[in-house]
């Protein structure tokens, strides 16, 4: 997979060479948007490079969807500039819309049309088209091609809504919370679809509030809260900027008292969560050795011992002071 991504990025495998393939595909500069007294987007700037999967991560109401829909040309920004494929969204929305694929958060479908009819209907709106059969294949909707959309399950509906974003063989794909409401297996399946899109040379801007999804899919991320971008970078950059330590985790049951843990070799911080203890350390072997010494002395052992680096969850907690949960 990673190899095909690399070639696709280099040559634009299925899309052919684009005249503007070198500059950023999306450029957002100090964009603001207010709804009444609520400042939904409050000075957001970022760029998305060709072939990249760029994620907007944040809780509901952070301004991710509003930001994305302004880039899609659905709402005009109050202030700031937005360029897509080198074109100004305010002035060239129709041209841009021909070249982008959009999946909206709430699947919007004609209930009485079949999957196939709906896909060819949307295809007919575009100058360039991807054959409906291919799109049906992409999203594994073959079994449901003759079913009216009102009969689809939530997961099928979600896949159809992603399929609609591909009917025009777009250069840029916008996915708004594409896996919300999917079970873990279906979520993995959709990640594959997104990676395949990238493999075909498309650039992807997506929103999500799942840490796991952001870590698994996104080349770069912007973490948003209250209409602002709090930090931006690759997952490694975001974590590395704050946490050099690793976390040594184990169950609190039978654990030595906190005082004793704080004194162990290499430990910089001790965090006691619901039923877990996390020792942040710059020297994992020394800390684990000291821990085992203490527990063995007490005739116990640390249950479910696990060593991991800090996660995006920790980054979000550090940035906002609260946890990002569904």
């Amino acid at each position: 997979m990673s190899q095909s991504v690399a070639t696709a990025r280099g040559s634009g495998a299925t899309l052919g060479a684009r005249p503007d393939a070198t500059g950023p595909v999306i450029r957002v500069g100090d964009v603001h948007k207010a709804y009444g007294s609520i400042q939904a987007v409050d000075g957001v700037s970022f760029e998305v490079a060709p072939g990249e999967i760029f994620g907007l991560l944040g809780p509901n109401g952070a301004g991710k969807t509003t930001t994305m829909e302004m880039i899609e040309g659905l709402h005009p920004p109050d202030a700031g500039t937005i360029e897509v494929l080198g074109l100004d969204v305010r002035r060239h929305a129709p041209q841009i819309k021909h070249r982008i694929g959009v999946q909206l958060q709430t699947a919007a479908l004609y209930p009485q049309l079949t999957v196939e009819e709906l896909l060819s209907l949307f295809g007919s709106f575009y100058a360039r088209q991807r054959p409906v059969d291919r799109v049906i294949e992409d999203l594994e909707l073959g079994e449901k091609r003759a079913a009216q959309t009102k009969t689809l399950s939530g997961g099928q509906r979600q896949r159809l809504s992603v399929a609609l974003a591909l009917v025009n063989d777009p250069e840029v794909v916008f996915l708004d919370e594409p896996t919300t409401g999917l079970d873990p297996a279906a979520r993995q399946g959709l990640w594959q679809v997104v990676r395949r899109m990238q493999g075909e040379g498309r650039t992807i801007l997506m929103t999500t509030h799942y840490m796991e999804e952001a870590e698994a899919l996104c080349d770069r991320l912007a973490i948003m809260d209250h209409g602002r971008i709090l930090d931006l970078g690759t997952v490694d950059e975001l974590i590395g900027r704050r946490f050099q330590e690793r976390g040594v985790r184990f169950l609190r049951r039978d654990a030595p008292p906190g005082e004793q843990l704080r004194g162990l070799a290499g430990v910089t911080r001790v965090v006691e969560e619901d039923d877990e203890v996390v020792l942040f350390t710059r020297d994992v072997p020394a800390t684990v050795g000291a821990l085992l010494e203490v527990t063995t002395g007490a005739g116990t052992e640390p249950a479910d011992l696990m060593i991991r680096r800090a996660s995006l969850e920790d980054v979000f907690l550090d940035l906002t002071g609260r946890a990002l949960r569904d």
């Binding site: 709430t106 004609y110 100058a127």
Partner: protein, 365 residues
Amino acid sequence: MRGLVALTAANLRSFTRDRAALFWTFFFPVIFVILFGTIFAGGSSDYGLGWVDEDGTQPAAMLREAFAANAPVELTDGTLEESRERMSSGELDAILVIPQGLAAAIDAAQGGGGQAPVAVTIITDPSRSGTSQAVQQIATGLVMAANLQLSGATPILTVDLETLQTTGLNSVSFFVPSILAMALMQLGIFAAIPLVEQREKLILKRLNATPLPRWTLVGSNVIVRLLIAAAQTVIIVGIGVAVLGVEVVGNWALIAGFVVLGALSFTAIGYVIASFARTEEAANGMTQIVQLPLMFLSGIFFPLEVMPEWLRGIATFLPLTYLGDALRQTMVGGTPFAPLGVDALVLAGWLVVTLGISARFFRWQ
């Protein structure tokens, strides 16, 4: 263009797969036509008439014979008292009283004397306006005919009676264009509901994320409404002609023109509703609020002439009054409420104003 065709086809497909929409658009008006057709063309065109003969002479008996033979009435003899009782219990629709002195008056008149006319009294029930009107017309017509006959102008009598004979049919002829007007009104106003539904379900927003121009969306909706209007017209008029024997006397091009103008005007009213209704429920409520007064104040079910003055004043402003009037005139040669040009102008005026309002207030998301 390709988008317009595809979207129109998709909208039509959605419509034909929506059983509720099909029912309200096609079967409901058909049921109306058949219902009214049966009521007005069927047995009840024979009105029950109480015959009170206070004269009891030969000419009075001849008058009774003329009524029994020529009018769609069933005569029941009795005294005034008995007849009044029968009328209150609903057996009779009206009472005709032949006063004493009829024969004497006729004799005097034929003898060349200038005697004052004898008044034949018709007693009707104003609470049943349709029936009492019809009976009044029949009785007046027959009395006039009798007058003519008695004064010796026989041929005119037959002509006059033929006209009266078609009164029963005329009710159906009155209702078929009315029901078509009602169906077109509902078709247009109910355009609000799928529109609000598509906005609520974010279908409009999703379409807005495609390069499809907005005029295509509106255009496709209007084309679909016009196609359905054409189908409704064919079905309603077809049943009127084939089943109920309504005779279409007007110019088909003119009829088609008013069907299109009417469908457009009411669709624009539907767009106004969609401009102000935020939810599908609100749109449903607003269509009812708009359609009910239109239905009952526009003279499509009751002739405007029987309405009180102030209601007629309201009717003068309603678009359905003019669509119904135009369709009655063009289809069955109904009595004009306004000249056809005025009908067209009022409908076009409504179209322009409501288009302006929806252009200003309609929200896509």
